[in-house]
């Protein structure tokens, strides 16, 4: 029975992994970049310089909103955390959905000045791609990614059962041995970061549990809005009085909030019914201070600046959820831990990519005629090139578009996003048209060149190239450009290895083609 369990688990692992592998690679790659979301956004808005000053930028945002959005339904100010410089303000007109706010978002630097920064979605695009996908309604995206995550969990568990010698093979990586090498690399990426993979997949499902399993809420509350109200406290939306009243200085409210949180920084400010006598200011704690990611929100009377009754304290279940989401998103993580998250994320990318290649490496030897594989095999082969080299290439074109698109064009941020998918699509199409061995070499070389071009174009189009950044000790810009160069080196190495590989699949199974596809 033991053998048959392992066999059925191997079957499940192989096909669950293949079916969702390409999507999971997208989720892993974009999820890994999301740990540096703020830093990516900073690089993509080179106009924003200077030091962070939370109170000054909050006041600057309020001033701007008072001039430009007096009749709005709500104002929002995303305050800069320790990894950012600028606050982002936006407002919601009556009837607008949350996702339309980007149309009137603005950035305020640490001197309280509104900065005319280029229109970009920054690291946020990659973060949203991680669970919303793109070009389709977000609810679809979340369901598709949720199903993929569920299969990821299935693949992890079935993979552990399938893996015959999980301890004996713990450190094993035999290179240059064809299929064997791919299996070793796949196992290494999976087993060494197994705690991360399990945590990230499970907590990933938890982040969207209200989408996937809403029944707990529907059983206890007549409407979802009732639940939101119970979570946020009794004073949700105020009613409009119709009387105009000025707002008390935001600095005093921020100071009160900070005092309540033992000095922890506020992260978000919302002003409901701004300008009205019944206006309410809500300040939410920042995420850097605790693993529990959902920080407390305190409310103030906007006109007096006095704190309202403290919000309800939440039970153990809400705290558990908050910590799980926090553990997933890593918003609390200090820089060193953030890099460890990224290292584990990269191992996850490697695990998925090598798993996909392994599927072809294993089957190539069993093909009736290795030079003329069947349609399914060729499809998998091409999709592998298109995703493993194509997606990173698309991300590089996204960064390049950020530097190269003219700053004044309409829908500029949307065109940056389009550039990602155009770049990806072009490379995918190219991979479909070339012989597969050439496609691997050329697509990975193209990705290497694209990543090499990012710091070069940055140096040519801005005053914040690698050299000036190094001289000024600008850690974020140096790290970004260096990461681009490291990615370029990685793809160049992979392209070189694929190029050097002896030609054609050899007929004798004992002498399998050397490494890489």
């Amino acid at each position: 029975m033991k053998g048959s369990l392992r066999q059925s688990m191997a079957f499940l692992h192989t096909w669950a992994g293949l079916l969702f592998g390409w999507l999971l690679l997208l989720v892993f790659v974009t999820g890994t970049t999301a740990y540096f979301q703020d830093e990516i956004t900073r690089w993509m808005q080179p106009e924003i310089t200077g030091e962070r000053d939370l109170t000054a930028s909050a006041q600057g945002a309020v001033d701007y909103l008072q001039r430009h959005a007096q009749g709005a339904e709500a104002w929002s100010i995303q305050l800069p955390d320790a990894r950012s410089v600028a606050a982002m303000g936006y407002w919601k007109e009556k009837g607008e959905t949350f996702l339309q706010w980007r149309d009137h978002a603005f950035m305020v630097n640490g001197r309280g000045e509104v900065v005319d920064a280029r229109d970009t979605t920054g690291g946020w695009l990659l973060y949203r791609l991680h669970f919303d996908l793109h070009y389709i309604p977000v609810q679809w995206g979340r369901w598709i990614v949720g199903v993929a995550a569920m299969f990821m969990l299935v693949a992890i568990v079935s993979g552990v059962i399938t893996h015959k010698k999980i301890f004996a093979d713990f450190f094993t990586l035999r290179l240059g041995k064809g299929q064997r090498s791919w299996l070793d690399a796949h196992n290494l990426g999976a087993v060494l970061a197994l705690p991360f993979h399990l945590m990230i997949t499970y907590t990933g499902l938890v982040t969207l549990q209200r989408v996937y399993m809403p029944w707990g809420i529907t059983a206890a509350y007549a409407q979802t809005s009732d639940y939101q109200r119970a979570l946020a406290g009794p004073d949700g939306l105020p009613t409009r009085s119709g009387r105009v009243a000025p707002m008390a200085p935001i600095a005093g409210m921020l100071a009160q909030a900070r005092q309540r949180w033992q000095g922890a920084d506020p992260g978000f400010v919302a002003v409901l019914l701004p300008g009205d006598a019944n206006a309410v200011v809500r300040i939410t704690r920042g995420t850097a201070v605790s693993m529990a990611t959902r920080g407390e929100t305190v409310s103030f009377d906007a006109t007096t600046g006095r704190m309202r009754s403290p919000p309800p304290t939440h039970g153990a279940a809400a705290l558990t959820e908050s910590v799980m989401v926090g553990l997933h998103a890593g918003r609390y993580a200090p820089l060193a831990l953030r890099w460890l998250y990224v290292a584990c994320g990269l191992l996850g990318c490697a695990m998925v990519a090598t798993g996909l290649v392994l599927w072809t490496a294993k089957r190539r030897l069993q093909l009736p005629d290795p030079n003329r594989p069947h349609v399914g095999f060729r499809l998998v082969e091409r999709l592998n090139v298109a995703t493993i080299a194509g997606l990173p290439f698309g991300i590089a074109t996204y960064f390049l578009a950020n530097r190269l698109l003219a700053t004044g064009i309409p829908h500029r941020a949307a065109w940056e996003a389009n550039a990602l998918f155009i770049g990806w699509g072009v490379l995918a199409l190219y991979a479909l048209l070339r012989p597969v061995r050439r496609a691997w070499v050329e697509a990975m070389a193209a990705a290497a060149l694209a990543y090499l071009a990012v710091p070069a174009v940055n140096a040519l189009t801005t005053s914040r190239g690698l050299w000036p950044s190094l001289r000024q000790g600008d850690g974020v810009f140096v790290a970004f450009d260096m990461s681009m160069l490291a990615t370029a080196a990685g793809f160049a190495f992979a392209a070189w290895r694929a190029w050097r590989r002896p030609p054609g699949p050899t007929p004798r199974p004992r002498q399998t083609p050397k490494a890489l596809a």
């Binding site: 450190f171 094993t172 290494l188 060494l192 705690p195 553990l327 460890l340």
Partner: protein, 90 residues
């Protein structure tokens, strides 16, 4: 203290790796006695435990365990890559 945690974990994984029969042949080119292997494995587990404990002393149980798991992953990867390199050279 993070370098110390990493070094302890790398030392631990190195001892564990050298305590395993196949890696002895691949990396050292010889097999160690059963007793030496047992001792290496015990040393290895001690190193990993020490690394975990150090992380918790440094950052407390919650943050410390998250750090420790990441540090262990990175250390094991380092040892596996070095072992692979050494084995291919022989």
């Amino acid at each position: 203290m993070m370098p110390l945690c990493l070094l302890t974990a790398i030392a631990g994984f190195t001892a564990l790796c050298l305590g395993m029969g196949r890696h002895q042949r691949d990396v050292l080119g010889t097999s160690l006695s059963a007793r030496a292997s047992r001792r290496l494995k015990a040393l290895g587990w001690t190193g990993l435990t020490a690394s975990f404990v150090l992380a918790i002393v440094r950052d407390g149980p919650a943050l410390g365990s998250v750090y420790a798991l990441g540090e262990l992953t990175l250390s094991a990867l380092t040892v596996a890559l070095v072992a692979s390199r050494l084995a291919s050279r022989r």
